[in-house]
Protein backbone atom coordinates (compact mmCIF):
# COMPACT_ATOMS: atom_id res chain seq x y z
CA UNK A 1 0.00 0.00 0.00
CA UNK A 2 1.47 3.34 -0.95
CA UNK A 3 1.83 6.15 1.57
CA UNK A 4 -1.01 8.18 0.28
CA UNK A 5 -3.27 5.15 0.07
CA UNK A 6 -2.67 4.45 3.72
CA UNK A 7 -3.34 8.09 4.62
CA UNK A 8 -6.61 8.04 2.73
CA UNK A 9 -7.57 4.64 4.08
CA UNK A 10 -7.90 5.90 7.62
CA UNK A 11 -10.75 8.12 6.58
CA UNK A 12 -12.84 5.48 4.83
CA UNK A 13 -15.03 4.63 7.84
CA UNK A 14 -16.03 8.28 8.29
CA UNK A 15 -16.64 8.71 4.57
CA UNK A 16 -18.88 5.66 4.61
CA UNK A 17 -20.87 6.94 7.54
CA UNK A 18 -21.47 10.29 5.88
CA UNK A 19 -22.32 8.68 2.55
CA UNK A 20 -24.79 6.32 4.22
CA UNK A 21 -26.59 9.20 5.87
CA UNK A 22 -26.49 11.34 2.75
CA UNK A 23 -27.86 8.74 0.35
CA UNK A 24 -29.93 6.65 2.76
CA UNK A 25 -28.83 3.56 0.89
CA UNK A 26 -26.04 1.12 1.65
CA UNK A 27 -25.04 0.31 -1.92
CA UNK A 28 -25.38 3.82 -3.22
CA UNK A 29 -23.24 4.94 -0.29
CA UNK A 30 -20.43 2.50 -1.03
CA UNK A 31 -20.57 3.46 -4.71
CA UNK A 32 -20.15 7.05 -3.66
CA UNK A 33 -17.22 6.19 -1.39
CA UNK A 34 -15.58 4.20 -4.15
CA UNK A 35 -15.92 7.03 -6.65
CA UNK A 36 -14.60 9.46 -4.08
CA UNK A 37 -11.55 7.32 -3.31
CA UNK A 38 -10.75 6.88 -6.96
CA UNK A 39 -10.94 10.55 -7.61
CA UNK A 40 -8.94 11.41 -4.50
CA UNK A 41 -6.14 8.99 -5.31
CA UNK A 42 -5.93 10.10 -8.92
CA UNK A 43 -5.58 13.71 -7.76
CA UNK A 44 -3.61 13.20 -4.64
CA UNK A 45 -0.94 15.60 -5.85
CA UNK A 46 -3.53 18.38 -5.45
CA UNK A 47 -3.81 17.82 -1.73
CA UNK A 48 -1.73 20.32 0.18
CA UNK A 49 0.34 18.32 2.66
CA UNK A 50 -0.28 19.44 6.21
CA UNK A 51 -3.80 20.64 5.46
CA UNK A 52 -6.78 18.69 6.72
CA UNK A 53 -6.99 15.56 4.61
CA UNK A 54 -10.39 14.61 5.98
CA UNK A 55 -11.87 17.96 4.97
CA UNK A 56 -10.34 17.57 1.52
CA UNK A 57 -11.85 14.09 1.09
CA UNK A 58 -15.27 15.26 2.22
CA UNK A 59 -15.11 18.13 -0.24
CA UNK A 60 -14.41 15.67 -3.04
CA UNK A 61 -17.22 13.43 -1.89
CA UNK A 62 -19.62 16.32 -1.87
CA UNK A 63 -18.70 17.28 -5.43
CA UNK A 64 -19.01 13.71 -6.67
CA UNK A 65 -22.39 13.42 -4.99
CA UNK A 66 -23.72 16.65 -6.46
CA UNK A 67 -22.58 15.67 -9.96
CA UNK A 68 -24.14 12.24 -9.70
CA UNK A 69 -27.40 13.56 -8.36
CA UNK A 70 -27.55 16.12 -11.11
CA UNK A 71 -26.98 13.58 -13.87
CA UNK A 72 -29.42 11.11 -12.33
CA UNK A 73 -32.12 13.74 -12.17
CA UNK A 74 -31.45 14.66 -15.77
CA UNK A 75 -31.85 11.06 -16.89
CA UNK A 76 -35.05 10.73 -14.99
CA UNK A 77 -36.49 13.93 -16.31
CA UNK A 78 -35.60 12.92 -19.85
CA UNK A 79 -37.20 9.53 -19.37
CA UNK A 80 -40.44 10.75 -17.96
CA UNK A 81 -43.06 13.21 -18.95
CA UNK A 82 -43.23 16.28 -16.81
CA UNK A 83 -45.97 15.50 -14.31
CA UNK A 84 -44.27 12.33 -13.15
CA UNK A 85 -40.97 14.11 -12.89
CA UNK A 86 -42.63 16.52 -10.50
CA UNK A 87 -43.97 13.64 -8.49
CA UNK A 88 -40.45 12.33 -8.03
CA UNK A 89 -39.35 15.43 -6.22
CA UNK A 90 -41.93 15.19 -3.49
CA UNK A 91 -42.07 11.79 -1.96
CA UNK A 92 -45.09 11.44 0.28
CA UNK A 93 -44.12 9.43 3.31
CA UNK A 94 -46.50 7.36 5.35
CA UNK A 95 -47.00 8.14 8.99
CA UNK A 96 -45.15 5.16 10.37
CA UNK A 97 -42.03 6.27 8.56
CA UNK A 98 -42.16 9.81 9.74
CA UNK A 99 -40.56 9.35 13.11
CA UNK A 100 -37.60 7.47 11.80
CA UNK A 101 -34.52 9.68 11.57
CA UNK A 102 -33.36 8.11 8.31
CA UNK A 103 -36.72 8.65 6.65
CA UNK A 104 -37.07 12.14 8.05
CA UNK A 105 -33.60 13.03 6.78
CA UNK A 106 -34.51 11.76 3.32
CA UNK A 107 -37.35 14.25 3.19
CA UNK A 108 -35.09 17.25 3.68
CA UNK A 109 -33.84 19.14 0.65
CA UNK A 110 -30.41 17.75 -0.23
CA UNK A 111 -28.59 20.98 0.56
CA UNK A 112 -30.05 21.17 4.07
CA UNK A 113 -29.29 17.51 4.65
CA UNK A 114 -25.63 17.98 3.72
CA UNK A 115 -25.14 20.89 6.14
CA UNK A 116 -26.95 19.12 8.94
CA UNK A 117 -24.79 16.02 8.56
CA UNK A 118 -21.46 17.78 8.13
CA UNK A 119 -22.06 19.78 11.30
CA UNK A 120 -24.11 17.40 13.44
CA UNK A 121 -22.73 14.01 12.50
CA UNK A 122 -19.25 14.75 11.20
CA UNK A 123 -18.64 17.66 13.58
CA UNK A 124 -17.02 20.00 11.15
CA UNK A 125 -17.08 23.67 12.12
CA UNK A 126 -19.43 26.03 10.30
CA UNK A 127 -16.45 27.54 8.52
CA UNK A 128 -15.25 24.14 7.35
CA UNK A 129 -18.72 23.23 6.10
CA UNK A 130 -18.91 26.53 4.21
CA UNK A 131 -15.60 25.83 2.50
CA UNK A 132 -16.55 22.27 1.63
CA UNK A 133 -19.88 23.20 0.14
CA UNK A 134 -18.47 26.37 -1.37
CA UNK A 135 -21.20 28.54 0.10
CA UNK A 136 -21.13 31.59 2.42
CA UNK A 137 -21.16 31.10 6.17
CA UNK A 138 -24.58 32.75 6.41
CA UNK A 139 -26.00 30.17 4.02
CA UNK A 140 -24.61 27.38 6.18
CA UNK A 141 -26.36 28.89 9.19
CA UNK A 142 -29.69 29.35 7.44
CA UNK A 143 -29.67 25.83 5.97
CA UNK A 144 -28.75 24.39 9.32
CA UNK A 145 -31.49 26.33 11.03
CA UNK A 146 -34.18 25.40 8.50
CA UNK A 147 -33.05 21.79 8.26
CA UNK A 148 -33.02 21.21 12.00
CA UNK A 149 -36.38 22.86 12.44
CA UNK A 150 -38.00 20.76 9.70
CA UNK A 151 -36.44 17.62 11.05
CA UNK A 152 -37.77 18.47 14.49
CA UNK A 153 -41.28 18.82 13.08
CA UNK A 154 -41.02 15.55 11.15
CA UNK A 155 -39.76 13.66 14.16
CA UNK A 156 -42.42 15.11 16.40
CA UNK A 157 -45.01 13.79 13.96
CA UNK A 158 -46.03 17.35 13.32
CA UNK A 159 -46.21 17.09 9.60
CA UNK A 160 -46.09 20.75 8.75
CA UNK A 161 -49.56 19.52 8.60
CA UNK A 162 -51.45 21.59 6.13
CA UNK A 163 -49.58 20.05 3.24
CA UNK A 164 -49.96 16.43 4.25
CA UNK A 165 -53.14 14.62 3.39
CA UNK A 166 -54.22 11.95 5.80
CA UNK A 167 -55.64 9.03 3.88
CA UNK A 168 -58.39 7.14 5.61
Amino acid sequence: MSDHESLVTQHIPRLRRYARALTGDRNAADDLVQDTLERALSRFHLWRAGSDLRAWLFTIMHNVYVNQTRSRMRHLVEALDEPSADALQAREPDWAELRDIDAALARLPAEQRAVLLLVGLEQFTYEEAARMLDIPLGTVMSRLSRGRERLRQFLAGDSGAATLKVVK
Partner: protein, 251 residues
Protein backbone atom coordinates in the same frame (compact mmCIF):
# COMPACT_ATOMS: atom_id res chain seq x y z
CA UNK B 1 -32.76 40.13 33.74
CA UNK B 2 -31.09 38.71 30.68
CA UNK B 3 -28.85 41.15 28.85
CA UNK B 4 -29.26 39.14 25.68
CA UNK B 5 -31.21 38.67 23.30
CA UNK B 6 -30.19 35.35 21.85
CA UNK B 7 -30.36 34.97 18.08
CA UNK B 8 -31.49 31.78 16.40
CA UNK B 9 -28.00 31.24 15.02
CA UNK B 10 -26.65 31.38 18.55
CA UNK B 11 -28.92 28.58 19.68
CA UNK B 12 -27.40 26.41 16.98
CA UNK B 13 -23.89 27.55 17.86
CA UNK B 14 -24.72 26.62 21.45
CA UNK B 15 -25.83 23.14 20.38
CA UNK B 16 -22.65 22.75 18.33
CA UNK B 17 -20.31 24.04 21.01
CA UNK B 18 -19.24 27.00 18.88
CA UNK B 19 -19.82 29.83 21.38
CA UNK B 20 -17.29 31.35 23.72
CA UNK B 21 -17.46 29.88 27.20
CA UNK B 22 -18.77 33.18 28.58
CA UNK B 23 -21.53 33.36 25.98
CA UNK B 24 -22.37 29.69 26.57
CA UNK B 25 -23.10 30.51 30.18
CA UNK B 26 -25.31 33.46 29.15
CA UNK B 27 -27.25 31.37 26.66
CA UNK B 28 -27.85 28.78 29.37
CA UNK B 29 -29.29 31.49 31.60
CA UNK B 30 -31.52 32.59 28.73
CA UNK B 31 -32.71 29.04 28.10
CA UNK B 32 -33.60 28.60 31.74
CA UNK B 33 -36.14 31.39 31.29
CA UNK B 34 -37.36 30.45 27.81
CA UNK B 35 -38.74 26.92 27.87
CA UNK B 36 -39.83 26.96 24.24
CA UNK B 37 -36.32 27.67 22.99
CA UNK B 38 -34.94 25.23 25.54
CA UNK B 39 -37.24 22.61 24.02
CA UNK B 40 -35.91 23.31 20.56
CA UNK B 41 -32.33 23.07 21.78
CA UNK B 42 -33.11 19.74 23.41
CA UNK B 43 -34.72 18.50 20.20
CA UNK B 44 -31.71 19.55 18.11
CA UNK B 45 -29.38 17.79 20.51
CA UNK B 46 -31.53 14.73 20.33
CA UNK B 47 -31.27 14.81 16.54
CA UNK B 48 -27.51 14.61 16.81
CA UNK B 49 -27.75 11.67 19.18
CA UNK B 50 -30.16 9.92 16.83
CA UNK B 51 -27.90 10.54 13.84
CA UNK B 52 -25.03 8.89 15.66
CA UNK B 53 -27.17 5.98 16.76
CA UNK B 54 -28.40 5.44 13.21
CA UNK B 55 -25.18 5.88 11.28
CA UNK B 56 -22.25 5.17 13.60
CA UNK B 57 -22.56 1.42 12.97
CA UNK B 58 -21.36 2.16 9.43
CA UNK B 59 -17.98 3.06 10.96
CA UNK B 60 -17.30 -0.48 12.06
CA UNK B 61 -18.78 -2.54 9.26
CA UNK B 62 -16.31 -4.67 7.36
CA UNK B 63 -15.40 -3.04 4.10
CA UNK B 64 -16.62 -4.57 0.87
CA UNK B 65 -13.86 -5.86 -1.37
CA UNK B 66 -14.27 -3.08 -3.90
CA UNK B 67 -13.14 -0.55 -1.31
CA UNK B 68 -10.11 -2.75 -1.21
CA UNK B 69 -7.29 -0.33 -0.66
CA UNK B 70 -8.55 -0.37 2.85
CA UNK B 71 -8.17 -3.92 4.06
CA UNK B 72 -6.86 -2.84 7.43
CA UNK B 73 -9.19 -0.02 8.19
CA UNK B 74 -11.87 -2.16 9.76
CA UNK B 75 -9.48 -3.29 12.47
CA UNK B 76 -8.65 0.08 13.77
CA UNK B 77 -11.20 0.39 16.54
CA UNK B 78 -9.83 -2.72 18.19
CA UNK B 79 -6.29 -1.52 17.93
CA UNK B 80 -7.05 1.92 19.18
CA UNK B 81 -5.42 1.69 22.56
CA UNK B 82 -2.30 -0.05 21.40
CA UNK B 83 -1.63 1.26 17.93
CA UNK B 84 -3.61 4.44 18.43
CA UNK B 85 -1.36 5.72 21.15
CA UNK B 86 1.74 4.95 19.17
CA UNK B 87 0.42 6.49 15.99
CA UNK B 88 -0.59 9.57 17.90
CA UNK B 89 2.77 9.80 19.53
CA UNK B 90 4.56 9.40 16.25
CA UNK B 91 2.71 12.46 15.15
CA UNK B 92 0.69 11.19 12.25
CA UNK B 93 -0.46 14.67 11.56
CA UNK B 94 -3.38 13.59 9.46
CA UNK B 95 -6.57 15.31 10.25
CA UNK B 96 -5.51 17.12 13.30
CA UNK B 97 -5.46 20.49 11.61
CA UNK B 98 -8.67 20.97 13.36
CA UNK B 99 -10.46 24.15 12.82
CA UNK B 100 -8.85 25.31 9.69
CA UNK B 101 -6.83 24.37 6.70
CA UNK B 102 -4.11 26.12 8.60
CA UNK B 103 -2.93 29.30 10.07
CA UNK B 104 -0.03 29.56 12.41
CA UNK B 105 -1.96 30.56 15.45
CA UNK B 106 -4.40 27.75 15.07
CA UNK B 107 -1.63 25.30 14.32
CA UNK B 108 -0.09 26.31 17.62
CA UNK B 109 -3.32 25.94 19.55
CA UNK B 110 -4.27 22.67 17.92
CA UNK B 111 -0.84 21.17 18.54
CA UNK B 112 -1.24 21.47 22.29
CA UNK B 113 -4.79 20.15 22.10
CA UNK B 114 -3.33 17.22 20.26
CA UNK B 115 -0.81 16.64 23.02
CA UNK B 116 -3.74 16.62 25.43
CA UNK B 117 -5.48 13.97 23.34
CA UNK B 118 -2.33 11.87 23.21
CA UNK B 119 -2.01 12.09 26.98
CA UNK B 120 -5.65 11.04 27.26
CA UNK B 121 -5.16 8.03 25.02
CA UNK B 122 -2.02 6.98 26.85
CA UNK B 123 -3.21 7.31 30.46
CA UNK B 124 -6.97 6.84 30.49
CA UNK B 125 -6.85 3.07 29.77
CA UNK B 126 -4.46 2.54 32.70
CA UNK B 127 -6.03 0.22 35.23
CA UNK B 128 -3.45 0.17 38.00
CA UNK B 129 -1.62 3.48 37.63
CA UNK B 130 -3.94 5.98 35.98
CA UNK B 131 -2.63 8.86 38.14
CA UNK B 132 0.44 9.72 40.18
CA UNK B 133 -1.43 11.27 43.09
CA UNK B 134 -4.93 10.09 43.93
CA UNK B 135 -7.99 12.12 44.80
CA UNK B 136 -7.62 11.05 48.43
CA UNK B 137 -4.69 13.51 48.59
CA UNK B 138 -6.39 16.26 46.64
CA UNK B 139 -4.91 19.18 48.58
CA UNK B 140 -1.41 17.83 48.12
CA UNK B 141 -2.10 17.15 44.42
CA UNK B 142 -3.21 20.72 43.76
CA UNK B 143 -0.39 22.25 45.77
CA UNK B 144 2.22 20.13 44.03
CA UNK B 145 0.96 20.77 40.48
CA UNK B 146 0.49 24.49 41.20
CA UNK B 147 4.08 24.71 42.36
CA UNK B 148 5.41 22.91 39.29
CA UNK B 149 3.36 24.98 36.82
CA UNK B 150 4.23 28.17 38.71
CA UNK B 151 0.65 29.32 39.10
CA UNK B 152 -2.26 28.54 41.39
CA UNK B 153 -4.45 25.79 39.91
CA UNK B 154 -7.98 24.84 40.84
CA UNK B 155 -9.39 21.42 40.31
CA UNK B 156 -13.04 21.42 39.25
CA UNK B 157 -15.53 19.09 40.90
CA UNK B 158 -17.86 17.39 38.48
CA UNK B 159 -19.94 15.27 40.81
CA UNK B 160 -23.16 16.86 39.59
CA UNK B 161 -22.43 15.50 36.15
CA UNK B 162 -21.59 12.07 37.51
CA UNK B 163 -17.81 12.34 37.29
CA UNK B 164 -15.57 11.97 40.30
CA UNK B 165 -11.93 12.94 40.49
CA UNK B 166 -9.50 10.03 40.19
CA UNK B 167 -6.38 12.15 40.69
CA UNK B 168 -3.73 13.79 38.59
CA UNK B 169 -0.23 13.70 37.24
CA UNK B 170 2.56 15.92 35.97
CA UNK B 171 3.49 15.65 32.30
CA UNK B 172 6.08 17.21 30.02
CA UNK B 173 4.59 19.76 27.61
CA UNK B 174 6.22 21.52 24.70
CA UNK B 175 6.82 24.60 26.88
CA UNK B 176 7.38 23.13 30.29
CA UNK B 177 5.38 21.09 32.76
CA UNK B 178 1.64 20.52 32.34
CA UNK B 179 -0.96 18.99 34.63
CA UNK B 180 -3.48 16.29 33.86
CA UNK B 181 -6.51 15.65 36.05
CA UNK B 182 -8.52 12.48 35.50
CA UNK B 183 -12.21 11.92 36.18
CA UNK B 184 -14.32 8.82 35.98
CA UNK B 185 -18.05 8.11 35.99
CA UNK B 186 -19.93 5.16 37.46
CA UNK B 187 -19.39 3.08 34.34
CA UNK B 188 -15.67 3.67 34.25
CA UNK B 189 -15.87 6.22 31.43
CA UNK B 190 -12.90 8.55 31.88
CA UNK B 191 -12.32 12.18 31.01
CA UNK B 192 -9.04 14.03 31.38
CA UNK B 193 -8.48 17.74 31.89
CA UNK B 194 -5.12 18.94 30.62
CA UNK B 195 -3.90 22.26 31.97
CA UNK B 196 -0.94 24.21 30.69
CA UNK B 197 0.49 27.68 31.16
CA UNK B 198 -0.08 29.87 28.12
CA UNK B 199 2.98 31.38 26.47
CA UNK B 200 1.29 34.80 26.60
CA UNK B 201 -1.65 35.65 28.83
CA UNK B 202 -3.57 36.59 25.73
CA UNK B 203 -7.09 36.56 27.08
CA UNK B 204 -9.92 34.23 26.32
CA UNK B 205 -10.79 32.16 23.32
CA UNK B 206 -13.94 30.36 22.27
CA UNK B 207 -14.35 26.70 23.00
CA UNK B 208 -12.75 24.84 20.15
CA UNK B 209 -13.46 21.25 19.37
CA UNK B 210 -11.33 18.59 17.77
CA UNK B 211 -11.82 14.92 17.30
CA UNK B 212 -9.59 12.12 16.18
CA UNK B 213 -9.94 8.37 16.47
CA UNK B 214 -12.92 8.65 18.71
CA UNK B 215 -11.34 11.05 21.21
CA UNK B 216 -13.08 14.40 21.41
CA UNK B 217 -11.31 17.45 22.85
CA UNK B 218 -12.78 20.79 23.86
CA UNK B 219 -10.00 23.29 24.44
CA UNK B 220 -9.85 26.94 25.31
CA UNK B 221 -7.55 29.62 26.64
CA UNK B 222 -8.43 31.49 29.77
CA UNK B 223 -5.82 34.18 30.34
CA UNK B 224 -2.85 32.53 32.03
CA UNK B 225 -3.95 28.96 31.50
CA UNK B 226 -5.02 26.75 28.63
CA UNK B 227 -7.44 23.89 29.22
CA UNK B 228 -8.21 20.83 27.12
CA UNK B 229 -10.91 18.39 28.16
CA UNK B 230 -10.67 15.00 26.40
CA UNK B 231 -12.97 12.02 26.39
CA UNK B 232 -14.47 9.29 24.28
CA UNK B 233 -18.01 10.53 24.73
CA UNK B 234 -20.52 12.29 22.49
CA UNK B 235 -19.73 15.90 21.72
CA UNK B 236 -22.80 17.36 23.49
CA UNK B 237 -21.93 15.44 26.66
CA UNK B 238 -18.35 16.60 26.52
CA UNK B 239 -19.53 20.17 25.98
CA UNK B 240 -21.72 19.97 29.03
CA UNK B 241 -18.72 18.99 31.12
CA UNK B 242 -16.48 21.62 29.50
CA UNK B 243 -19.05 24.28 30.31
CA UNK B 244 -19.22 23.14 33.92
CA UNK B 245 -15.42 23.24 34.17
CA UNK B 246 -15.30 26.74 32.74
CA UNK B 247 -17.99 27.91 35.11
CA UNK B 248 -16.26 26.58 38.18
CA UNK B 249 -12.99 28.16 37.18
CA UNK B 250 -14.73 31.50 36.53
CA UNK B 251 -17.28 31.75 39.34
Amino acid sequence: MSRLPVADAELHAYVDGALTPARTVEVEAYLAEHPEDAGRVAAYRDQIVQLHREYDPALNEPLPRRLGISRNAGMRPYLRYAAGAILFALGMAVGWQLNSYSSERQAESSSWARRAAIAHVVYSPEVRHPVEVGADQEAHLVAWLSKRLGTQLKVPHLGELGYTLVGGRLLPGDRGPVAQFMYQDGKGQRLTLYVRVNPDASGETAFRFAQERGVGVFYWLDHKLGYALSGEVEKPDLLRVATAVYRQLNP
